[in-house]
């Protein structure tokens, strides 16, 4: 069936692994990965904040790298490994990054928090002992409108320590 918004898919079906589970994408390969995750798979932890790739609310990991799901199509994620905030820890447990955010109360409205958690995870995976400046640079693509930045920075430093990295703060 064709119509506005769909394209005849290539000869091979689209397949993506999301949080360890393989999915076939049956149709609408040009819709955003964000829409696919939220509407098709019901994974609402990844948020829409701007649609411009400028706020970080839609942060996911694609093959371990930080990506903005609103700027990717489902087709872009074909054959790749996607991790959303829901897939960072086994059910019922928290990663050190999640624990640090929760323990420090590093959220106000909480809407930016899943994106912050994913971006911080990518940052610490790449750089387990970042300086404050490296954290700021690495997280600058994520916006918090409640402006809870100081607490978020402290949470990421705490997470680094919980993960066994971290730096001594003078």
């Amino acid at each position: 069936m064709t119509g506005p918004g769909s394209t005849a898919a290539g000869p091979r079906e689209l397949r993506l692994r999301v949080n360890g589970v393989e999915h076939v994408v049956p149709r609408l390969p040009e819709r955003t990965l964000l829409d696919y995750l939220r509407l098709e798979l019901g994974l609402t932890g990844t948020k829409y904040g701007c649609g411009e790739g400028r706020c970080g609310a839609c942060s996911v990991l694609v093959d371990g790298e930080l990506a903005r799901a609103c700027q990717l199509t489902a087709r872009d994620a074909d054959g790749r490994d996607v991790k959303t905030v829901e897939g960072l820890a086994p059910p019922g447990s928290l990663t050190p990054v999640q624990e640090a955010f929760a323990e420090l109360g590093a959220f106000q409205c909480g809407f930016c928090t899943p994106g912050m958690v994913v971006a911080a995870t990518a940052l610490l995976d790449r750089n387990p002992s970042p300086s404050r400046e490296e954290i700021v640079r690495g997280m600058d693509g994520n916006i918090c409108r409640c402006c809870g930045y100081p607490r978020i920075l402290r949470a990421i430093e705490r997470a680094a320590a919980l993960r066994g990295g971290g730096r001594e703060r003078k």
């Binding site: 948020k47 959303t84 829901e86 409108r145 607490r151 978020i152």
Partner: protein, 698 residues
């Protein structure tokens, strides 16, 4: 909650007809009745719908408030206060917010009224429940058991969450007395102490569902055709392209056109295929907006007008040798909540339920009912967890959109604003144009103060400084852009104008800004925040140098007092670096210290955005900045060293802390820039093309 809900809002149901126990089962229900407007500890108090709570045999306490939580921490603060009055663990208390069927009527979550109004009501209900439990426990068979080993209902120390097995099979209703005895903040053991919110887990795992995350079976996604310019009316629509698309449901009514589709993207693309004709009056250009405001006073909306008048400021000004006469301006700015507004409407059995992130759920219910020609009791509004508001999510317009589409389509519909729609079809913080004339006598005391605010409003309008000859007033204007509440309202603009003008006077006199202000202040609580900010920032020891300066500002608003110190550097090219922002804040007894500190940090950085770079730009009737690419908001890299000094006054009633900490940031920064490079800036945002202007603008 899975018990049956009432079929009509309780605030419109006589109390004897409300079945509280159908909702939550056996236990004690305690009610704090509604209160009429009147005088209270923090000045005038508005009408409130009171509060109520339920205590179950298991020890689970469920408290209901008509306030909502859009991230400012209302839920946590109320939870701590209820836990305190009932001497139980905060983890045992659930606070239900903003459900118009079961929560007490509330005028809306704004004006920093949650602590002065909602909190005392729930504290009274909790205290009444506590007294009732004590009575019941004494009745035979008295088998009350505490997990800490059996002390009586007055158990205070070491108690874990209390349980009340003697409530099984009982349903007891009690009402708080008008002067219900409440706990003393000085003796608080739970409120006023550090508290880690249990909601953290659902937030960090992405499990929490916000309004735009809600789904129901058979949900359709709606989008509404919106005008290209403000005030435009829809005159004609050609939707013939959509007729052949079976999955698009069209809703076409006079002045309204929308679609319902299987996905949000599909709904948007469908609207692009519609040809519409709009009609509207011409609008002023951005360059003309100041003269437009001055020339168009509004005749309606008399609520936000204030004035101060005494003595003869004109003569005193004319006679003075040290004088300032200037106009101060603050731009229209946008709230930019991270979650764009969203509403999910579902009709069932003639009743409408809308889940919508709104700061005014009861007003929204009345609004939607009125527009749809329904009795208000047939509309239920539920405010789900919401991704911030900052005053920008008042009302029920998006709820009405969703309701209209759902009614026509015969299925539940969710309308999600795009970021562009959120910019264009929300409303803005009003632009301010403020004329000031002020003078000092030969002793350096204020001899006259004349202050007029055009358009922005009366919040923090009155000067807190001692002055015999004063004329302060504000003029409401017809704005060319939609404008409304924004965190702290006009207090930011009024504080900016006042505190820069005061700094100008201090400079002309050659006096230190802190010493100068201290001399003019009578309010000891304002003196206290001024002293604390000055002391903690090392004001007296700071060494200004070319390109390096510090500034201070203070203000008083909504029961809170604030003083902010800024330290900045400006290089030869005009690049500004903010090294430090220190804010001292006092608002009575502190309920949730971590939450309040968060609010002050957040308000400080949000204030920095409005101070330095936030500004809307527009063509006649239409925003030119309707994206994050074109409208800059504070990011991690903008954050200086932020320090917060909270002053606890357990002897004073708790005032709100969500707004006032924002308002001294901009003048502190402007005054610091003057200290650094001698440039006097009187307009917000301070940066022009990303830089500090080299000379004081005219």
């Amino acid at each position: 909650m899975n018990a049956s809900r009432p079929g009509a809002p309780w605030h419109s149901t006589p109390p004897p007809s409300r079945d509280y126990f159908a909702l939550l089962g056996d236990g004690v229900v305690a009610i704090a009745p509604p209160r009429r407007p009147g005088e209270g500890g923090n000045g005038w108090s508005p009408p409130t719908g009171g509060g109520w709570l339920h205590v179950a045999p298991s020890g689970r306490v469920t408290a209901f408030t008509g306030k909502v939580d859009v991230g400012q921490g209302t839920r946590e603060a109320l939870c701590l206060l209820v836990a305190e009055e009932l001497d139980t663990l905060p983890d045992r208390v659930t606070v239900v917010v903003g459900d118009t069927d079961v929560c007490p009527w509330d005028m809306g979550t704004f004006g920093s009224r949650s602590m002065p109004d909602a909190a005392p009501a729930l504290r009274a209900a909790a205290a009444a429940a506590g007294a009732c439990l004590a009575e019941l426990a004494r009745e035979p068979p008295a088998q009350m058991r505490n997990e800490d080993g059996g002390r009586g209902p007055g158990a205070v120390e070491g108690s874990a969450g209390r349980t009340f097995p003697f409530l099984v099979g009982r349903r007891v209703l009690t009402t708080a007395a008008p002067e219900q005895r409440l706990s003393e903040p000085r003796r608080w053991k739970r409120a006023g102490r550090p508290f880690v919110a249990p909601s953290g887990r659902e937030v960090v795992t992405g499990a929490r569902r916000y309004g735009s995350d809600l789904f129901v079976p058979n949900l359709g996604y709606g989008a509404v055709l919106r005008p290209p310019r403000y005030g435009d009316r829809l005159v004609d629509v050609d939707a013939s392209q959509l007729r052949s698309q079976a999955e698009i449901h069209v809703v076409s009514e006079p002045g309204f056109f929308g679609v319902v589709a299987p996905s949000p993207a599909r709904a948007r693309s469908a609207l692009l295929e519609v040809r519409a004709v709009w009609e509207g009056a011409s609008q002023p250009a951005e360059s003309d907006v100041e003269s437009y405001l001055r020339g168009h006073p509004a005749t309606e909306d008399a609520w936000d007008v204030d004035q101060q008048a005494s003595g003869d400021p004109t003569s005193a000004y004319d006679a003075a040798r040290i004088r300032v006469e200037a106009t101060y301006r603050t731009a229209f700015i946008a709230h930019v909540p991270l979650e764009c507004r969203s509403a999910l409407a579902e009709w069932s059995g003639g009743r409408l339920t809308v889940w919508v992130g709104t700061q005014t759920p009861f007003r929204a219910a009345e609004f939607v009912a009125g527009k749809l020609g329904m009795p208000p009791s047939d509309v239920r509004i539920v405010c789900p967890p919401t991704g911030s508001g900052f005053g920008g999510k008042h009302g029920g317009a998006v709820a009405l959109d969703a309701a209209r589409l759902a009614r026509s389509a015969g299925r539940p519909v969710r309308v999600d604003f795009s970021r562009e729609e959120e910019f264009r079809y929300g409303y803005l913080r009003p632009m301010a144009v403020i004329d000031v004339r002020a003078s000092l006598d030969d002793d350096g005391a204020l001899s006259s103060w004349t202050f007029r605010n055009f358009n922005a409003g009366a919040a923090a309008l009155a000067t807190p400084y001692r002055v015999a000859n004063v004329r302060v007033d504000n003029v409401l204007c017809r704005s060319p852009l939609p404008q409304g509440s924004y965190r702290a309202l006009a207090a930011t603009a009024n504080t900016f104008a006042r505190e820069v003008a005061m700094d100008e006077l201090a400079t002309l006199r050659g006096e230190d800004p802190v010493v100068f202000r201290r001399r003019q202040l009578e309010d000891p609580r304002l003196r206290a925040v001024l002293e604390r900010a000055a002391e903690l920032s090392g004001w007296a020891e700071f060494r200004a140098a070319p390109g390096r300066g510090h500034g201070i500002a203070l203000s008083r608003e909504k029961g809170g007092r604030v003083a902010t110190v800024a330290e900045v550097r400006v290089d030869a090219a005009g690049s500004l670096t903010v090294d430090r922002l220190l804010t001292a804040f006092e608002a009575g007894a502190i309920v949730h210290p971590e939450g309040l500190a968060s609010q002050v940090e957040g308000a400080t950085i949000m204030g920095l955005g409005g101070a330095l770079f936030e500004s809307v730009h527009f063509d006649p009737g239409r925003l030119a900045t309707a994206s994050l690419a074109s409208y800059r908001v504070p990011r991690f890299s903008d954050v200086p060293k932020v320090e917060v000094a909270l002053i606890d006054r357990p002897d004073l009633p708790s005032a709100g802390g969500g707004e006032t900490p924002l308002i001294a940031v901009a003048p502190a920064l402007a005054n610091a820039v003057h200290s650094a490079v001698g440039v006097r800036l009187r307009s917000l945002p301070l940066l022009v093309d990303g830089r500090i202007p080299r000379t004081s603008p005219g």
